[in-house]
Amino acid sequence: MALTGRVVGLALLGVVPVLLWPGPVAFFATLLVILAVVAVDAALAGSPRALRFDRSGPASVRLGEPAEVRLTVTNSGSRRVRGVLRDGWQPSAGAVRPRQPVDVPPGESRRLTGTLRPTRRGDRLVERVTVRSVGPLGIAARQVSPRAPGRIRVLPPFTSRRHLPGKLALLREIDGRTSLRIRGQGTEFDSLRDYVIGDDVRSIDWRATARRQQVVVRTWRPERDRRVLLLLDTSRTSAARIGDAPRLDAAMDAALLLAALAARAGDRVDMLCMDRRVRARVEGASRTELLPALVEAMAPLEADLVEADWMTVAATIRQRLSQRALVVLLTTLESAAVEEGLLPVVNRLTSHHRVIVASVSDPALATMAAARGGSYEVYGAAAAERAALDRAATTAELTRLGVDVVDASPADLPPRLADRYLALKAAGLL
């Protein structure tokens, strides 16, 4: 039951009889008339309970892009339902126009189209639809909120996509290098071909030359089919916000760029999201399925307020990877967390794999460290420098243990991590 603005107008009209015949009789009679009109109008309104709802539209949308969602309203009652409908999406789903007029004759159905502009990553839900069916006089209405659940998955935005063409060009450059220039440990044998003047004599395959009666050289290509394991730390340190987005989102961006690059380079990419347990995993996805699988797995993840259990992480990695692989730990260089958690177990990883620690740093700290002006700012600068020194010490310790460390701001981390990967690939160190 609900009222409209017209009921106020009706009640204002009721002032006239009360003025003409002052007294309780006219007053209460007017009141009764108003109530009767409201009751009759509400009773004559089409029953909103007779409506059936059906949702359709995309299952997922990239953060920052609009999505069109459709709601089909079918009237199974005997009276026409006219009024207003509100689709109860969560605020972060960003429904552009949640209220829409609705007018469904009996036995027919209407499709309402709404636009969502989600403001946060993850699963955005809608639980109920509210319908207010107005009576023929437009004075009273009947209102119900039936369940009509729906959801849309908001995927990570992958803003570092724009770096991909440049990094792929670099990759092709590495790919196209001749055997002469990059021959070295870890590069793979590709094929044999005839010697041409200028080839490195060291690459002559004497055994094949003896068989073929011609000088034959071996050619090499960059390593392929290496395994890359991306490990996203979803513990409390990833919940910290840099600007307006949690650290985890920056780590996801970097992971996506690296995965896209590595998949194109012919490596096999797996992903694990862990804190004390495995929160999400993508394993054995083919090249074409990899990116969709990754964003789908990442979308609903939120950082948990628990300490990461690096023992479990190390054990899980050893269990999953039998051969040598590139392990990329996307975490942060918070000295306390690293010293207690990661340092004791990093040996186990470096003994079998090549390890990169990619850390999201906060540009606010650099701004703080550069601030001068008064004693207030200088104390802040000292605190920021202290944090930088701690990070430097942690980085030094990790480097000593044979770990590659990439520490950069959210915007810089994806390209720098990709560069580090390409450097390793070029050097044949995977």
Partner: protein
């Protein structure tokens, strides 16, 4: 639900830093307390001062003609003597208390009748008790003693003879006369007796009697109303003058019960028995009721929500620089100048070492030496800057930090080129690697 999220009503725009986790509640309480501390102290102090002064200071400032007041203008003397003679003296402040249960054997003395409103006057006139009015005005007299009318005033300190047949006045003899003077009203109702005593005289007309009196007594149907034009008759200061005491005691002590009515002005406010509603035409009330119905319906119309509140699972908000900011606050509150200076020096030394290509195991004094060379500065001064004593005060700390910046800039741009270090420091990527590169 994910344990790392919290649910709050959907009014907060999501994805922004405005979340329930921003700032712990204890922190918010602390800052509010700091902000409201001084106003709270001031208000508390004022309240305490008011309470203490009210409790400690005695009630000395009672009004004139108050039977409890021992001041010169009070009436404690008369009241005490009357009590000693067995007269029951009650002090009342409300007209209802004054007239309740008052009989013909009651005297009501009204000391400031001009403070009475029409309702109080009506109450008094309906009562059957004898009245003593002290300096009443025309309005009061019209209601309570229509046979009397005020007629000017005269010098207050003149002693007069009674010059009338009233037994009280003749018994008392000469008293302080003057004050307000009263005369017989022109349209006095029949059946009332009018007795005027202590006639007032103008200067220069001594011995000649007048028709204006300082005390008037009217009796009407067994009820006696005494009008006293001279308030000094009842005051402590003048009670011993001539026959003042005798007249006061005889007037007030005529009956075994005396009600001393000190009108309370606040009573006037409550007695508007004619309400606004009585003055308005009847349709106004019903139209108002109808408008009330309109307002109620408007509230129901606007108050009904289109569906319930949708809950939004908000992520936790932990700012990444929080630890550094907390540490900065600690340094500030602790005035940790030495600590801050040593950190800034270490950081600068490392950056200089990286820029100069000094291996990380080189000692700071070596770095200082090389830096002085590169910057073309005095080695002693640079060593003092990088390795000197901690600053003595905050100003020295600020100077030190600026000097370190200048040194780094000079090393980066030999020859005193444009200061570019400040810009480079904002971007961590351009900052020289503290490890000297890998």
């Amino acid at each position: 639900m994910n344990p790392g999220t919290t649910v709050s009503p959907a009014t907060v725009s999501p994805g922004t830093t405005a979340g329930p986790g921003e700032g712990s509640p204890a922190d918010g309480r602390g800052s509010r307390w700091r902000r409201l501390r001084w106003p709270a102290f001031v208000v508390t102090g004022m309240v305490l001062a008011a309470v203490v002064s009210a409790a400690l200071l005695p009630e000395t400032n009672r009004g004139s003609l108050d039977p409890r007041s021992a001041e010169p203008d009070g009436s404690r003397a008369v009241a005490q003597v009357l009590r000693g003679r067995g007269v029951k003296v009650d002090v009342v402040q409300r007209s209802t208390d004054a007239v309740d249960g008052a009989t013909r054997r009651t005297t009501i003395v009204v000391v400031s009748p001009s403070l009475l409103g029409p309702v109080q006057l009506q109450r008094l006139s309906r009562s059957s008790a004898d009245l003593v009015l002290v300096e009443p005005d025309l309005v009061v007299l019209r209601e309570l003693a229509p046979a009397v009318t005020p007629l000017g005033s005269t010098d207050a300190s003149r002693v007069e003879d009674p010059a009338c047949a009233d037994p009280d006045a003749t018994a008392a003899g000469p008293v302080t006369g003057g004050g307000q003077l009263y005369a017989r009203a022109a349209g006095a109702p029949p059946g009332t007796t009018f007795t005027g005593c202590y006639p007032g005289r103008r200067f220069g007309t001594a011995g000649k009697s007048s028709d204006r009196y300082s005390m008037v007594r009217v009796a009407d149907d067994g009820r006696r109303v005494t009008v006293l034009g001279q308030r000094q008759l009842l005051q402590n200061e003048f009670v011993e003058v001539d026959g003042n005491a005798a007249l006061a005691l005889r007037t007030l002590g005529a009956h075994p019960e005396l009600r001393w009515y000190l009108p309370d002005p606040t009573e006037l406010g409550e007695t508007a028995e004619v309400t606004v509603g009585d003055l308005l035409p009847p349709w106004v009330r019903w139209a108002t009721f109808q408008l009330g119905v309109v307002a109620l319906l408007a509230m129901l119309w606007r108050g009904r929500r289109l569906g319930g509140v949708v809950a939004e699972p908000l992520p936790v908000v932990v700012r990444s620089a929080e630890t550094a900011e907390g540490r900065a606050r600690l340094y500030r509150t602790g005035r940790a100048r030495g600590h801050a200076a040593s950190i800034l020096r270490t950081a600068s030394t490392r950056r200089l070492a990286a820029r100069l290509g000094v291996p990380s195991e080189a000692s700071p004094s070596d770095v200082a030496h090389l830096a002085a060379e590169a910057a073309g500065a005095d080695p002693g001064r640079v060593a003092q800057l990088l390795l000197g004593a901690p600053p003595r005060d905050d100003a020295a700390l600020v100077t030190l930090s600026t000097a370190l910046d200048d040194l780094e800039r000079a090393v980066a741009e030999p020859g005193g080129a444009t200061p570019r270090y400040g810009d480079a420091a904002k971007d961590p990527e351009h900052r020289p690697d503290p490890e000297g590169g890998r």
